[in-house]
Symmetry: C2
């Protein structure tokens, strides 16, 4: 097997979802580390923190009070990066050609939400059971469904999903007045990933424009489908199941791998095994299986270095407003980008060479997958108590 | 002027060098920050640290001793990300088509150097004068020249440069046996940018492959030149000099701007005003003017929040091994990517939305440029003493 040699030599790998390369230097973890140490996570948080702006019943920055919610609670971010209403901007049509090309701008409108995962201040997804994560998936699905365009190709699926998921008034948000193009659901977990409040929550940013990353992925998946008549992530998931070396975990509906092209040390990709285009395509059973996959990833992360593992994660799926073709090309998946490399306190910095030249990683995805495969079992914190 | 409205509304801007978009949310700096604080830099370093592996005369990790060098000292990184010799890798030609596409790898060889800026442990580029930075530029030029292919289109320029720059035995490195494709000179400064030793230094990674970022830039510059018959950065520099609002500083040879498409809060681009393709194209006077530009940027950074400002920076120029066409299309420039946003301790995190969807910034490049324009003058530390 000629690929075995990649365990020992420097090489580049190709990311077919984005069309970009990264550098892999497997021997490099041996260098001593004398740089910045991350603060190891203390787990001495109270179940309820009177000063937390996300805990049930508490007041937020702009004066609103949170309801006494049970699990999920959604509200419009008090400091949204995009807004529904703003002054109009139309690029100066009289601009000369060069300036029009070199100084290009487009207005972006939209709405940003914050969504809690639990009423409890001190838990994380890793502490929650799949059954407890299920309401999060249900709320994501309802919010996604409520923002789809009226002519969306998955409208029937959305109605079916809405009819099956019990409504949760605290997790409902109103439909924005103008139709938006894309919804990015993401979580920043841990201070190392810019999270400023440990209360378990994610953000949902909806925008009038298609953002760069999902746009690139859609373009590459479209090209693959045109050229091969199959889905990129369908073929990729099959291939990984055959090879097994990058598989971390799987159930009937979802495959968890350290992708061939992973940039972050323990980067993980959760891929739907069948053609799920968006959250609204999931059956009741699949929603639970997705919750299970999220649980497995986050618990394994925490077990790896026995710490509350920081990461950013996010879901890629069909746009909110899209053509039949775009919906058909979309393949539901979730990325996890965690920064830790060697221990609870030593992270990988994606800096100089990575920013100026090319992303670079120090362990192979195969090595990362082997380690994550081996740290299932009970959450380490539960064993300590 | 219709662009004025961009000061107040959310919008996207286009980066013509890489062909990608970013989100700008000017109103967003108002939100309170309760997250991670960076450690403010203490400046209590000694001029010589007996434990530093970069100080003159000291021992390094693998036992070699540093010479009693004067300013620059270059050596092969003891923990290089790429090496000159390694086992061969040839992708399995019998791989079926799908696997060959989805699991692509290429071997990468090369050599990585560390290069000090000064014999003094406790200085940074901001503390050094342009005259003191000049030997750094000279060493970069000599190292670049010594790695160029024998048929390089700028060979005559290299010989001219070598004949004018006094040799410095401590800054010399031998020529690798195999011709390499690209040289990335970069600095990671400060613990926040993954730097593990405050002794002023940069790294130089040379690789057999063209890395992603300079590759993307070259492709976009090529396209621009084909379509318009001029150079992208030539037109851009002219445009910015006319507009003035993003200009931080300039001398006869170099323009310093916060580029229209800046991602990092105080990102800066240093652009050669005339068609300089690589370091070897610079005249004696231009080398000094480049040193001056680097000095201006780093001193202004430190003055901005009165701290030793962290950043990653790097030079983009013609590849080491390239066609006439590639050399002609290259336009010498230097990027600075600094993470601080609001103060010495509050940085911008490029995390969830940025990684999953699209880079997002909170102040406009015009606001950033105005602030950097206004913090020239003496280095704040000198005024304190
Ligand atoms: O080589 P250093 O300084 O030890 O390491 C630093 O710079 C490298 C190149 O940008 C990165 O890959 C490392 O993550 C970073 O910590
Ligand atoms: O919105 P938050 O949690 O305050 O902010 C965090 O996530 C955002 C979205 O990824 C980033 O733009 C911010 O830099 C980060 O600190």
């Amino acid at each position: 097997m000629p690929d075995q040699v990649l365990d020992d030599i420097s090489h580049r790998r190709y990311n077919p979802l984005t069309g970009s390369w990264l550098l892999v230097s497997p021997h490099r973890t041996k260098r001593p580390w004398q740089g910045q140490q991350e603060a190891p996570s203390k787990n001495e948080l109270p179940e309820y923190d009177p000063k937390c702006y996300l805990c049930p019943g508490n007041k937020r920055a702009q004066g609103d009070s949170n309801p006494e919610y049970q699990n999920t609670f959604a509200f419009v971010n008090d400091y949204s990066a995009v807004k529904e209403e703003q002054q109009e901007y139309r690029p100066d049509a009289s601009k000369e050609d060069i300036a029009a090309f070199l100084l290009q701008a487009q207005p972006v409108t939209g709405r940003c939400y914050v969504l809690t995962f639990s009423a409890k201040h001190h838990v994380t997804l890793a502490d929650m059971t799949a059954q407890e994560i299920l309401p999060v998936i249900q709320t994501w699905t309802r919010i996604y469904a409520s923002h789809m365009s009226s002519s969306h190709p998955l409208k029937a699926q959305a109605e079916e999903a809405l009819s099956r998921i019990p409504p949760n008034p605290d997790g409902e948000v109103s439909r924005p007045e103008h139709q938006l193009r894309f919804m990015q659901i993401f979580e920043n977990k841990g201070a190392a990933m810019g999270c400023s409040n440990p209360h378990p929550h994610c953000q949902i940013w909806t925008t009038s424009t298609m953002p760069e990353e999902p746009g690139k992925e859609l373009a590459h998946m479209t090209k693959y489908r045109e050229e091969r008549g199959r889905h990129l992530l369908e073929d990729y998931a099959k291939l990984e199941m055959e090879k097994a070396e990058r598989v971390v975990w799987q159930n009937d509906s979802f495959l968890v791998v350290c992708p061939w092209w992973a940039v972050w040390p323990f980067e993980v990709l959760v891929i739907a095994k069948r053609h799920v285009r968006a959250l609204v395509d999931l059956s009741d059973e699949e929603r639970l299986q997705f919750a299970e996959a999220v649980q497995e990833v986050t618990r394994r992360y925490d077990n790896l270095f026995e710490t509350s593992f920081p990461y950013s994660s996010g879901i890629h799926q069909a746009p909110l407003d899209c053509t039949e073709e775009e919906a058909e090309t979309s393949w539901f998946h979730m990325h996890f980008y965690p920064p830790l490399l060697r221990s609870a306190t030593v992270r990988k910095f994606l800096v100089g060479f990575e920013l100026l030249a090319e992303p670079q990683r120090d362990i192979t995805p195969e090595q990362a997958a082997a380690r994550l495969r081996n740290c299932g079992g009970q959450l380490y914190r539960k064993l300590l108590n």
